[in-house]
Amino acid sequence: MNKQTKESPIVDVQNMSKSFGSTQVLKSVNLSVQPSEVMCLIGPSGSGKSTLLRCIAFLEQYSGGNVFIEGEMLGYNDNTDVRKLTSTNELNHVRRNMGMVFQQFNLWPHMTALGNVTEALVRVKKFSRREANEKGHAILAKVGLAERAMHYPAQLSGGQQQRVAIARSLAMEPSVMLFDEPTSALDPELVGEVLQVMKDLASEGMTMIVVTHEMGFAAQVADTVVFLDQGEILVKGSPQEIFQGEKPPRLEQFLKNYMDRNAFWE
């Protein structure tokens, strides 16, 4: 999986900063994600990794720097001296190729799995109900939930719900998928099925940015691993460089804590 070709990046974050009140949570973050690249963001809680992802989705407004999605400026009109928020239409235009999966799934509980997957096709992409259902069934089959199309979220396990959420995003045919700790709310036994779907996606060439605590997933699937601490990118590199190479003390300590937490047999 060598994707070092210099195509134009899908996501290009330049000098991004973000403050909540007087607390600066992101300090001059730079990263770019190439087509088909899988990037994992790791770091201790409060390091700003989720905030970074939410800024890339413009669910939070970043305060400094620029973000370009496939070459288009996200969230702000930058052709004037004073930065102004773009209209909702322009924002939706830039975000049209972006899918997002949340820690808490955020499915709509009053709709079936199929309803969740097809709703945006009907409302946003203006598919007919029949076309949308056809596509919805196909995508649910892809995440292994063909039999669960008519189930409501409350009737599904956490892992199944998260797979519906992934299917819901995939239905919109995004060119980049953002995952915000997609397995953190799951029982350990259900984590595997969600990670498998994500691995399949990665091997099909989906561009992905994944905030995760699953170091195994990062090591096996990521092209690039980014370690954030206190709002800054401390290290960025291939999984080999991050997990096996020479490490700064903060990363060493983070990984040691992770290992200690997961060690149950000496």
């Binding site: 669910l59 808490q104 955020n106 709703e119 945006a120 409302r123």
Partner: protein, 222 residues
């Protein structure tokens, strides 16, 4: 013991038409109040202070003054502002305005209990605000607030008695009229009370039936 049910039987057609009008006023006023209340709720939740403050003032005034005074202002005070209403029009509009404030607060609390994440999911997929409201927020909000909604509808149903004061020939008007003609106060007022009891009970039953049907799939699993 002079409890003479014959008086009631003699006036049954009038009583039935009064009962019908009470139901009509309740249903029509409730429907208008819900639509109005929805807009008021959206105003209360608006980020723009130009919308939020006037709407908040409206809610405070409506909730803070007695319905009787509001109805008098509309019916007797209206002509001073060029507003001439039939008793029944004034009654229904008055009731709708009165209840809209209560519905609005209820709707607002319902909207607020839908998780923000669900709305973010829709937002990032490019849903318009109207689609989010219509397909995601309103259906869930209505299920969440059904018990409170039934409560307000029961109160609204009983408040229709006040319309008798502006001569709307609804149930209370008919029965108190018969009472003062025949001096059969005990009989007419008992029937009046029982009628509202039946009406309230039916509303409550209908409410819990809908609630059961609707909440079947709305269990919170997370």
């Amino acid at each position: 013991m002079t409890f003479d049910i014959q008086v009631i039987i003699d006036h049954l057609p009038e009583i039935a038409s009064g009962f019908g009008l009470t139901i009509l006023c309740t249903v029509v006023a409730a429907l208008i109040a819900m639509v109005l209340g929805l807009f008021v709720a959206l105003g209360l939740m608006s980020k723009a202070a130009v919308f939020r403050y006037p709407v908040r003032l409206y809610v405070e005034i409506i909730r803070g003054t007695p319905f009787l005074i509001q109805l008098f202002l509309l019916y007797y005070g209206g002509p001073s502002f060029g507003l001439y209403l039939e008793p029944i029009e004034a009654g229904i509009i008055g009731l709708a305005i009165y209840c809209s404030a209560y519905f609005a607060e209820l709707f607002r609390s319902g909207f607020n209990s839908i998780s923000l994440g669900q709305l973010e999911a829709a937002q990032i997929m490019g849903f318009s605000k109207i689609s989010v409201l219509w397909r995601i927020q309103i259906p869930q909000m209505m299920v969440l607030i059904t018990p409170g909604l039934v409560n307000i509808c029961i109160i609204l149903g009983k408040e229709t008695t006040i319309l008798s004061i502006v001569t709307v020939p609804e149930l209370a008007f008919v029965l108190t009229g018969i009472g003062s003609e025949t001096y059969a106060y005990a009989e007419t007022l008992t029937v009046l009370a029982i009628s509202y009891l039946i009406l309230s009970e039916l509303t409550a039953r209908f409410g819990s039936w809908t609630e059961k049907r609707l909440s079947k799939y709305m269990e919170r699993s997370i």
